[in-house]
Amino acid sequence: MKLRQGQFSFLPDLTDDDIRVQAQYAIDNGWAVSVEYTDDPHPRNTYWEMWGHPMFDNRDAAAVVFEVNECRKEHGGKYIRVIAFDASPGWESMRMGFIVNRPAQEPGFRLVRQEGAGRVVRYTIESYAAREPEGARYA
């Protein structure tokens, strides 16, 4: 099951050139671009591991593509995304976020039902991958 999170996730995988153009758009708007990775694909997992610092002083997106490729070397079997943070007053939040790398096998999610008092059923989802301990989730 292909994970559909963030921008462009219903499009074919982005090429390096696509990443460069999108990141350049963010830089031209004055947003700080950074690269993050994770092996926990749960949609409510907001805080991914940072790959280096946000790139505040870079004027050209080639640096972002360079970092994405560096991150792929180390964490090629995990999810990697590029995010753009807008620090301007009133926003102080992410403006963009898109996945640029995903594991070869994405096992998807299972539905978990929890029976509560009075025959109440609570539903949640759990990634099949997240059953394995951290670091052993994807090949």
């Binding site: 050139d17 280096g52 870079n58 004027r59 997106a61 080639a62 640096a63 360079f66 970092e67």
Partner: protein, 311 residues
């Protein structure tokens, strides 16, 4: 860059038109006007610009080869205008479309090399990322290589630099700069650099007449002027200063002028009896220049025990 997305294949290229369009003419004219002397440097830059323009035209016609190697080395004595030319070069490459942003990032050894194991690589990469899309100007490049210390972290920075110079040729242009003799030794011990650098540009020393002209241009930029006697004194100053140690061409001249302005201000302050006009405020006289310690034998005399007023 995809070449096959263009419209119809181009069969003719108007070099004059692309010369005008790209704004290269403006950069070259600026270079001619802003910089005095440096004839060999200017002609090398004009040649490089022509080469890049022709390369661009060839690319449009499908005669393309890859991105040409644009890394350069600037060698010359202190104060011969290496940094200034590097700025212009970044602008030129930007207008020709060989770098995307055209900014200049100036660094020295300290910005690349870390203090502990594992500190150097991230530091160097950080700098390289900042320079992407522009030009990285590495001043006094030979300090990176310290043969007397085999554990020196400079070697690590060199390796990363070489790797990026090779793999990210589309993303950044590296200019190494330094004094000629030490640069030669640096290249001799790091053959990887020599082979990756296509353009070696040498900056000659300025002649005395050129330095005098430079000093007048510098003053004019700040709305100052030399009176005729001061001009003669300045010419003599330049000849005398050149013979003394630590002579740094245009930089020495700039420092001398800064001190002359200081003395002029002091003189006006002490002499002023009433209102003074703009001409007085902006004229440097002979006394302002003659007071320099250069006329009294230079730095070494000044360091003597009975130190007089600061020159």
């Amino acid at each position: 860059m995809s070449k096959d997305t263009g419209p119809a294949p181009v069969t003719h290229v108007d070099l004059t038109a692309s010369f005008e369009e790209s704004g290269v003419r403006d950069v070259l004219r600026e270079l001619d006007e802003a910089l005095i002397g440096l004839a060999p440097v200017k002609s090398r830059i004009r040649e490089t610009a022509a080469l890049l323009l022709v390369d661009k035209a060839r690319q449009q016609m499908g005669l393309a080869t890859g991105t040409p190697t644009l890394h350069m080395s600037f060698t010359g004595n202190p104060g011969t205008g290496k940094t200034t030319v590097a700025l212009k070069m970044a602008d030129l490459l930007h207008r020709l479309g060989y770098v995307r942003k055209g900014h200049l990032v100036t660094v020295t050894r300290d910005d690349l090399v870390g203090q502990y194991i594992g500190h150097t690589a991230p530091k160097t990469k950080e700098v390289l990322k900042k320079a992407m899309g522009g030009v990285l100007f590495l001043d006094e490049a030979y300090y990176l290589y310290r043969p007397e210390n085999e554990r020196d972290y400079g070697q690590e920075a060199i390796e990363i630099l070489l790797q990026v110079m090779e793999n990210n040729r589309d993303d950044l242009v590296v200019i190494l700069a330094g004094y000629p003799d030490r640069m030669d030794r640096f290249f001799a011990s790091n053959p990887g650099f020599r082979s990756r650098i296509a353009h070696h540009i040498e900056f000659p020393d300025y002649s005395d007449a050129e330095l005098l002209q430079i000093s007048e241009t510098m003053l004019a930029q700040q709305s100052y002027a030399l009176d005729p006697q001061a001009r003669a004194a300045m010419a003599e100053y330049i000849t005398t200063r050149r013979a003394q140690p630590h002579f740094a061409n245009a930089r020495s001249v700039r420092n001398a002028l800064d001190r002359a302005r200081l003395r002029q201000a002091n003189r006006l302050f002490n002499e002023a009896k009433g209102p003074i006009d703009a001409a007085t405020l902006s004229t440097i006289t002979e006394a302002d220049i003659r007071a320099s310690r250069v006329f009294r034998g230079g730095l070494d005399v000044e360091r003597g025990p009975q130190r007089t007023a600061a020159a």
